[in-house]
Every structure is written in structure tokens, then in C-alpha cells.
């Protein structure tokens, strides 16, 4: 999967046709094989753009960047990224007419060892669901399967699970990189940072981290698209995907097989009511 040339062509064309102010893509880090996001505002810099199976990050996170807000933006999205974009559109965070979306029929991205990431192996929607232009051949949707990690987690009882997470979250340094890297965390001021929120005090204790991460995961329940930006950003290498995958699985099973960002206008299980909703877990 290498669309470097196509993306350079598209970006150059968009700039020459004056359709965009900024193009969000990937560039090489310059010191290793990895890539980092880049915001191209000058057409001369278009040749810096690359795209291949090392283009791991979800670029929709950059739609809340000060250089893209309110601007006309060109953007590269893989399958999972496009679902974030769909949700951002649904939640009125970006305007569709200001975007030019280059969708990728993604074949999965790889880590440093050349291994496909776990979420790419289990990917249900590899093709971009929102796009103006599609690169690659669409493969069609896969079948949702419960993640092996979640199956293992579910085999534990409540006490064990809590003990496990308390142990894991002990390593959280509350840097909030997970939040900053998440495309769906766009609040003007996060509830965790608000002065009045005595519950999530700034203390760097396990209980405060536990509380903050749990709140965060619930705010993303039914909205997380499993792009794993958070996990890649976490300096403590916390298995943050467990929180999201757990919620995803619960919602998938209980709320009409809902998966985030697949359908236009679908805000997720928390925000709609259906007579088919189960109520057996409500006391």
C-alpha cells in the first residue's frame, strides 16, 4: 500500500485549484522509517507528503488544530479515520463543505517490527466511509468479532478486573496525551480539568487516574472507532484500548450492533432511544 504519488498529485491539484488552505497528511520523521502528521500550507511543500503502510496516525485529530479550524482542509483518511470524521460531522465539529477528503481503501498499517497492528487485523471497515476521492480498491466490510483481549478480560470476575485495572493505571502519569491524541476529545474544556470538578482532582494518584480514565472511556463509549491514537501516544504504554473495546462490545451486543461512525447522523447508543433497547441491566 503506497499512495504517496497519488496523494502528492491530489494535494498539488487542490492547491492549484485553490480549493484548500491546508492539507493534512503524513511525512517522514527524517531520522527513522516512521512517519508523523504534517500540515502543509505552502504548495511548495507538497513533495514532503508520503503515504504507505507506516501512516498510522488518525489525522482527523488535526481538525481541531488552530491551523485547520475554520479553514478549507484537505485530509487523508483511512477506514477507521473516516469513521471519526463521520462522527465529527455528526457532532457538528467540522463542516463538510470545508473539507476535501481523500479516502483510502486501507490494507492495514504496520508497527516498527513490520507486523500489522492488532486493530488492523480485526478491522471491520477498511474502506473510508466518507470521501471525495477514493484511493485503492474497496474490499468491503468485515465481520465484527469480539477481541481476544476482551474475551480474556470477560473471563475475569468484577473484583479481578478492578484489581487488574488498578494495577495497570498505577503507571498513568496523567499527562493527558491520550486525550489530546483522540479525535473525539474536542471539548472546549475537558470535564476533568474544570475547576468545579472536585471528583477528578489533579492529584497523581491511582484512584484519580482510575476515575479520570473511566470517565474518559465512558465519554467515548459508542464513539470510539478503535484507531488507537491514544495507545500510540501513551508514554506509559497503558492498554487503553481495553477500556474502549470493552464498551464497544457491550454496546454492539446490546444496542442493535451499533458501531461508531458508520452511519451518517448516528450519534450512538447514549443519544438515541429505541423501544428495542434492553433494560434488564437497569436496576
Amino acid at each position: 500500500m503506497d499512495y504517496t504519488n497519488q496523494i502528492r498529485e491530489i494535494a498539488a491539484r487542490l492547491f492549484s485549484e485553490n480549493k484548500i488552505d491546508v492539507f493534512v497528511g503524513y511525512r517522514m520523521t527524517g531520522f527513522d522509517e516512521n512517519q508523523v502528521p504534517v500540515l502543509i500550507r505552502d504548495p511548495k511543500e507538497v513533495p514532503r507528503l508520503v503515504f504507505n503502510d507506516k501512516s498510522v496516525f488518525n489525522l482527523t485529530n488535526y481538525l481541531k488544530h488552530e491551523h485547520t479550524r475554520g479553514k478549507r482542509v484537505g485530509l487523508v483518511v483511512k477506514g477507521c479515520d473516516s469513521r471519526s470524521l463521520q462522527l465529527l460531522l455528526t457532532e457538528s465539529q467540522v463542516k463538510r463543505d470545508r473539507l476535501y477528503v481523500v479516502g483510502i481503501a486501507c490494507e492495514g498499517v504496520v508497527d516498527d517490527a513490520g507486523q500489522k497492528y492488532q486493530n488492523c487485523q480485526e478491522c471491520v471497515f477498511p474502506d473510508a466511509v466518507v470521501f471525495d476521492e477514493m484511493l485503492g480498491t474497496p474490499k468491503g466490510n468485515g465481520q465484527y468479532q469480539v477481541n481476544a483481549d476482551i474475551r480474556e478480560l470477560a473471563s475475569k470476575d468484577l473484583v479481578e478486573r478492578r484489581a487488574y485495572f488498578e494495577e495497570v493505571f498505577e503507571n498513568c502519569i496523567r499527562c493527558n496525551a491520550c486525550r489530546h491524541s483522540c479525535p473525539m476529545c474536542y471539548c472546549a474544556k475537558c470535564c476533568i480539568d474544570q475547576e468545579s470538578s472536585t471528583l477528578y482532582n489533579g492529584a497523581n494518584t491511582t484512584s484519580a487516574a482510575f476515575h479520570a480514565l473511566m470517565t474518559w472511556s465512558l465519554h467515548l463509549a459508542g464513539r470510539c472507532v478503535d484507531c488507537r491514537n491514544c495507545e500510540k501516544a501513551c508514554p506509559s504504554h497503558l492498554p487503553l484500548h481495553l477500556l474502549h473495546k470493552w464498551n464497544e462490545q457491550v454496546i454492539y451486543e446490546n444496542f442493535q450492533e451499533h458501531l461508531a461512525g458508520v452511519h451518517e447522523g448516528d450519534r450512538g447508543a447514549f443519544y438515541k432511544y429505541s423501544l428495542q433497547d434492553p433494560d434488564d441491566f437497569i436496576m
Binding site: S92, Q93, Y186, S196, F270, Y271
Partner: protein, 657 residues
Amino acid sequence: MARVGVFVCFCGANIADFVDVPAVVEEAKRIREVKFAIHYKYMCSDPGQQQIRDAIVQHRLTSIVVAACSPRMHEKTFRKALSDAGMNPYLLEVANIREHSSWVHQKDKKAATEKAADLVRMAVAKSIANEQLHEISVPVTKRALVIGGGIAGIQAALDIADARIPVVLVEKSPSIGGKMAQLDETFPTLDCSQCILTPKMVDVASHPYIELIPYSEVIELDGFVGNYKAKIRKKASYVNFKTCTGCGACWQKCPVKVPNEYNMGLDKRKAIYTPFPQAVPNKPVIDATHCTMLLKGKCGICSKVCEKGSIDYTMKDEIIEREIGAVVVATGYDLWDPKPYEEYGVGRFKDIITSLEFERMVSANGPTNGVPVRPSDGKVPKNVVFIKCIGSRDEAKGIEYCSKICCMYTTKHTILLHHKVPGSHSYVFYMDIRAAGKGYEEFVKKAQVDTAATYLRGRVSKIYKKGDKLMVRGEDAQIGQVVEVEADMVVLATAVIPNKDNPDLARLLGVSYDKYGYMSEAHPKLRPVETAKAGIFLAGCTQAPKDIPDTVSQASACAAKVCGLFSGDTMKKDPMISTVNNEYCSGCQNCVKVCPYGAIVTEEVPMGHGSKEMRTVAKINEGVCQGCGSCVAICRSMAITLAGFTDPQIINEIVSI
């Protein structure tokens, strides 16, 4: 430093028998902020309230906790006591130690006392974070909407309009009148239904304060008490009512014949029709599902014969809006379809009819000019069997409740048969005779003597055909034997069921309804005409089966409620409503989606101070907001607060126990 006063009520024996009230007071005194705590036999009584007022002044209290019954009962009473003592009434917290403790834990006094003490602790903690709030006043639109133009709707509309309040009366069918217009004579006085109803119908049409919108349906209701906005769909009638004179040339010439709903399908009407001769408004409408001009584009006879040129085949449904302050729902009833009574041969034997079909037959303007006839051969029946409780009081096939009116109208039918068919005889199979009402029992007794009808207490098990007669086999429980009656015709007193559109309408209006589909009143005894949604009232069979006198009384009661609501120019509203902190709002509009009252809209605000770039934030219409808190719960940014239930208040409550 907060200074809280705690007032614990005995509620006579209601609380004191199951909760150790003095112990609760002692517990309350141990809380640091509580500067004053007492108990009293009836806190809601005047001396009880006086103690609160005195304590506020003497002990310089900053908030008050009353531990008593549900705030639904006396929150207003105690708030008033606070304002009388010069304190902001919203500094009151009520700890419900009756419904939430003494009544539900009658077997364990110790646990009930502990729970009561906990509830008091929570209320004290919450009250410390209470803020001074002020009532909001919202303007009232003094116009009422009445949905349904049966006798209930007509009566409510007339009574409201007589108080010089404009009324919008929306009726689904082409004419008002409802079920009562189909009746012949009415129990227990046997006065002619049409004769007492049609003058009222004409009054509605001519009343200067009533806007009659026939052949229309309410499709949307937005807003809140005093300020509703209703969307009404005027169905296309294909007749211009402004120019139509109601001459009748069109329906006389129309070639299409359709079963007549007004006569229960016993005869035919035309595709362009007025439902019945006394219809109000007396203008025809075209039934689009049968008119060949509208279906196939051929015919057009009515248009040719109409001298005024009132026929307009291109007419479309029209949506109109009305601003209103209150709604009276009077959608009436339907009759239960007796098909499940297969053993009676319902559907197979033509001479088994329902009571409303019988009513149409004996009616002077009915399909048979007032003489009951057998649908099979047109002969006048001599022996008629009436079977009551068809569907009513039948858990297996129908519904559990008693339809209330069948005993009386069946009695009436025996009299009508006796009058119209000399030498006829009525047999009545019944379970009980329920004749509670003024003059009802006397009516039944007199009818039994006058008509000499045979009353058989028991259920019918089977009806079968023998020649052209129907053999009705049932039990006479009083002699304990199976009896068989040879009948020319059988009349089934089918159960009253709610209007089939009730659940949809209830959801549209935002009021609750029961398992049968009747809309629910706010309180079965003390608030029988109000719904739980302020400004929406119920009249007639919308709420439960009723006879005409009860329906009319309830309709007038609705009118009194509407007039009371509209007695002032503005309405006071509790200040427990949500507010948005623009700084925190991210504009995701989830609150807009979850708000059940449509109280949240969006507005554009500058991105930052002095910035030209705009961003979208939520904005709450304080008149519409009912303070349910859905938006607060859904807001991830915690940008919304609900006055009276702020985060500090709730967290205080949680932390206190």
C-alpha cells in the same frame, strides 16, 4: 458558615409509628451546620409552619430542611412559609421520610430510623449548597386547542369559548358530532340524541370564539404550558368550503358508492359525501381513496354539477400552525371488534350485529328508517337476543375492565325494540347489571317491567344456525341449567376501547397512557382531568369509558381548568431550569437531541473575545425548559447546570452518607 434548621414531622402516626422521630432530630443536631432542630406532630399545619418562620428569624438560619412527606405534597406549602419569613423559598430542602422511609419499612423501625436520619443528612448537605433562585414568569397565549369534536370536545370548546377565550377545535372527520351523533335515544331519559346534540354543534360553528377546523389532525405539539405551538394538517377535502353552499348536487350525482361509516356500513354513501344530514360544517368532502377522478382521472361529474365551482381536484393537504396555551384531548372511543368470539359465529352469521349497528337501525335517520331488520333477509326480527360484556370483563378474549355503558344502552335497546317492533321479545344475557348513576337503576327496573324482557344471568357458550333462526345456547346461572333461545337476531354489546390513535397522539403530546391506550390522568382521584404534562387536559373516553353525563361533566371540568390557567397574563414557573456555560460548550448538540421538550436551540458566538470567527453553542429557552436534567447528564463537557440540582449539591448529598 451555613446555619441549617431541621424540622422533622410526625405526620400524625404516619411517620412516628415506624420512625423514631426524636432520634432523627438528635442525629440531625450532631451535624455541624445544623443550628436548630425540632420535631412536631404536623409540620404542615399552621402552628408547624409558624415554628419554621420563628426559627428562621430567631436563629438566623440560612437554609431549611423539612423532613416530612413527599415534596410533591407540601414543598409549595413550606416554600411559602420560607418566603413569609423573608427567606428565599428555594433554600428549602424536603427530606421525604414518609414515602421513602416510614411507609416502605414498616417492619423494621430501627432501619427505618437510620434511613430517615440518612435522608436528613443528605438534605442538610444539599441545602448548604442551595442558591437563592427566583421564579420565572412567562407570558401565556390565551387560546385553547381542543382535539376531537365529539360531545366532550364540543362541550369543552363551548364552555371555554363562553369565557371569551378563543378555541381551536380540531376534528379528524368531516363533521363534528362524534359517536353521539350516531345514537338514537339516550339513557336514562330517552331523549333524542340528535335533538340535544345538533344545537350544540351549530353553536360551535357559529360561536365567535371558536375556530372549527374539521377534517384535520394535530401532527405536532411543541412548547410548554401557556406557550404551545401546534401543527395541524388539514386533509385535502377537494372542496372549497368558502364557496360551497352545501346544496348537495355533487353527492346526489356522484356514481361511486362506498360503505357508509356513519351507518356502520349498513348502507352506502357516495365518494363525495357529507357524513350525515345534520353535519357541521354541512359541506361535502371527497374520499380520495374511492373517487375515480382522483384515482384514475376519469369522471369529474361533481365538478360539472357544482354551480359554484367549488370542486378542486388539485387540492393538497395543508399544514397550519396555531399558537395555543392549553390542550383539551377529547378523542373519544372505538368499539371492540368481536371477531375473537368465533363460537358465536361472528362474521359467519349475518344476523349477529353489534350494538352500534342496532343503534343505527333503530335510529330515525338510519339506513332502515328506524326499523330494525335482519341483515340476511331484511325481515323484521321478533325475538332478539342481547349479549352483554362482549370483550369487556373478559381477560381471555378481550379486556379486563368494565365498559361501563353497555348495561345501560342494552336496557335502552330493549325499550327501543319494544317500541319499534310490536310483539317483539328481548332476551338479555348478562353477567351483572351495573346501573350506578342518577336514575339508572330506576330506568333498568322500569324497562324490565315495561318490555317484559327475559333476563338470563349467564354467558352464552355457542350460537348456531337452525333454518333461518339463530340458536343461542347459554347458561342461566340462576336456575343452574343450560338454556337455548331461538333468536331472529343477536346483538352484541361490544366493549368500549380507546380510540386507536390514542397511543400515537399521547406520544405526540408527551402524555402517558395505560396498557389499553387510555391517556393517564395526573391523579386518579384528585386530578382526574389533568395529565402529568402541565396544560394538557383529558375529557371523555380519552381517559376511560364514560357515559354522556360523565363525559360532559369532565369536559366542563377541563374548561374550568383552562379558564383557571388563563386567568392571568403571565404564568409563574419554577426556576429549576438548565443553563449553558458557553465557555465550556463544545457545540456537539447532543443536548438538542435528548431534550424531550425541544427547549434547546443553538446560537453562534464568537470563537474568543473579539474574534470574528464564530462557533456554535447550545442555548436553552428558559420558558420551555422543564428542568428534567437530561441535557446535564448527556453533556460530556459539563457545560450545563441545572439550578437547584447543581454538581456541588449532588456531590454534597453523595458525600454526606
